[in-house]
Assembly symmetry: C2
Homo-oligomer: 392 residues x 2
């Protein structure tokens, strides 16, 4: 196991009506004037925003608002948020929404207290300072409520990049599974796929002898498969949504990813898809994962065999372990299709003629990029093109 | 799933030579004058204390020392520590040792800033304030390095009781698996048993539909069985010790215990044994667990069947699930014996003639006690006597 540090000081208020604690939690963590950052009108229509504001008012917390966050959140709104926070002397950012809203909030939180362009953080500069952040989560998916990560898309060139740093851990996150009951089956399934991807990205490691985190990842995957099927069948199943919500946080707060190298190839390959076609991140991952895994299978066959047997319950083929490994990938693909995810480029709205461009941006798109993407294995543009072709 | 809050803001520095970060971490978390609290001479002989002091000195941190913590740490030393901290104006407690040293440090940390008798906290008063605490862990066992818990034995009557509160979470914990390589096989096995017990205490729940935490607990148990066997065979296996150390923290920081009722009957039953006979806590648990589980089996047979099949790999007996459940308990017993743990009262040094007294103290010992112990099921003195008899 590799050396590591782990620090996840987020307070979680979990359960029914947890959003009534918002005001008290902002106060506890030092906020006096809040930016409420959100997406579309659904949080208003559902009544959630009213309850959040009432809670803030009851605690004597002032607030300003900025809505309009879109899936694959954009840099333009981040700049707008930074300006508003500086003008209004905001000292706390409250994200009310899903991963996109939280990621946009994190970028605003860092940008407000930084002299330069916030995009620097998305080109590799570590995030060491930011306004305190709180979240009221409305979809179990990105894990951003408990992670030190944020992903933003720069409109100029539609480049999607991530940033990370301890200052990006929320001070508190409010997780009320009932809030996710109004999501469409498609949104719910996208969330489930994203969570499973966060687990695979950590499972595919080159570090040996990491049984504890291996087992934790397998456990969370099995819980996602079991509870994911239940919630697609019955969207009102509160307990299934609660299990998914906690698993989504645990999958990405990195307690199951410490001390081991990680992959993130599927995310890198997917980011180009959602940046160019504006598809849902989870939907892109559903198409990307089986292709990436098929392409990298022989880098460490045993690891895919282990996932197949332990997670997917495949029968071990002792004469031909490769068959078992492939059966595991097929089981993943079937599961994703069963919950309503797309299976190829066409269903995703992607185009074969863009493949060279997608692969080029993936390998050379950011200033830090050097022509390859690395993780479980190192891939160049030709490899990434081949992976996209497997998605046709 | 039940509503809950979860807050685990401990910074973990994990890996080889991690103790060299001690001074810098004390500084980061606001300490300027430290009490170094420790047990016997082993941390001095091993050279660990020298490295810790060098790190403190390098960071310009002053310190005083108090050694002498014994397994099943006593109230007498806590009072001594409180007096010393007040006299020396200590503002940070650094525990260098195992669970006993950390638990004693927590009691001192709370007692120093409290006007009354620190024992109040061990009679049920919530711990809301304490000096900041850091730990340098030398044995994977109690999980106190990441938990909000502490257990102390009051010399007057040899009463062993626990206290809990957010202020009991360490600011930082240094986990260097190499430090555990000098432990005897018996101490190592006691630690493994304690960790497994922390998992069973959470697994035995009356809350329905908690698949995510069920799976997490099962995962950590399987890792402990696998890595526990490896480390007993080869005490120098760094990776096995690293896997156990992280599992030990995860088993007790409660991320796998949230949103569900828990048991703690085995711990309650054991505390009387280690209080009266001064046996190792882990050894007492090895004898207590199979007896408690056998006695409470029929409260929820399915839960024991699930543990048997999923954790211990027992074949499901569809015609007679009870046989499967019992096979799981036997598998646990065999595993504990295989790593060198005692199997009955005699091997533990306990006496049949004390059973009535043990059961009485267990059910009536503390001021808060009302004649029963509760968790997975509610047991009165007669039940507890019957459990002790199963250990003969």
């Amino acid at each position: 196991m590799d050396n590591f540090s782990f620090y996840a000081p987020t307070y979680f208020a979990f359960g029914k009506d947890a959003e009534t604690q918002t005001g008290e939690l902002v106060k506890r963590f030092g906020g006096s004037k809040v930016l409420i950052h959100y997406g579309g009108g659904s949080v208003i229509k559902s009544g959630l925003m009213g309850r959040v504001k009432a809670s803030l008012e009851q605690a004597g917390i002032a607030y300003v608002e900025l809505g309009g966050v879109k899936p694959n959140p954009r840099s333009g709104l981040v700049y707008e948020g930074i300006e508003l926070c500086r003008k209004e002397k905001v000292d706390f950012i409250l994200a009310v929404g899903g991963g996109s809203t939280i990621d946009s909030s994190k970028a605003i939180a860092a940008g407000t207290v930084y002299d330069g362009d916030f995009w620097d953080f998305y080109e590799g500069k570590p995030v060491t300072e930011a306004l305190p952040i709180g979240t009221v989560l409305t979809i179990a998916a990105a894990g951003s409520e408990g992670s030190p990560d944020s992903v933003i898309t720069k409109e100029d060139g539609m480049i999607k990049r991530g940033a990370s740093g301890e200052a990006y851990r929320a001070k508190f996150s409010i997780l009320n599974p009932a809030l996710t009951q109004t999501l469409s089956p498609y949104q719910t399934a996208c969330g489930i796929t994203d969570i499973i991807a966060h687990l695979y990205e950590r499972y595919l490691t080159n570090t040996q002898n990491v049984e504890t985190t291996d087992r934790m990842i397998e456990a969370l995957m099995k819980a996602m498969i079991h509870e994911g099927s239940k919630v697609i069948e019955n969207p009102d199943d509160y307990d299934a949504r609660a299990n998914i919500m906690w698993a989504g946080m645990m999958a990405h707060n990195n307690s199951c990813g410490v001390g081991r190298s990680q992959d993130w190839t599927s995310h890198n390959v997917e980011h180009e898809l959602s940046a160019l076609y504006d598809c849902a991140h989870g939907a892109g991952l559903a198409v990307a994962m089986p292709a990436v895994f098929t392409y990298t299978l022989h880098h460490d066959l045993t690891r895919f065999v282990k996932a197949a047997v332990r997670v997917w319950g495949c029968e071990m083929d002792y004469e031909c372990p490769e068959k078992t490994a492939k059966a595991g990938i097929e089981a993943l693909r079937s599961f994703l299709i069963s919950i309503g995810m797309p299976k190829n480029f066409e269903e995703l709205g992607a185009r074969e003629e863009d493949i060279e461009k997608l692969a080029h941006t993936c390998c050379y798109g950011s200033e830090a990029a050097n022509g390859t993407i690395s993780g479980f294995t190192t891939l160049d543009q030709k490899d990434v093109e081949a992976i996209y072709r497997l998605m046709l």
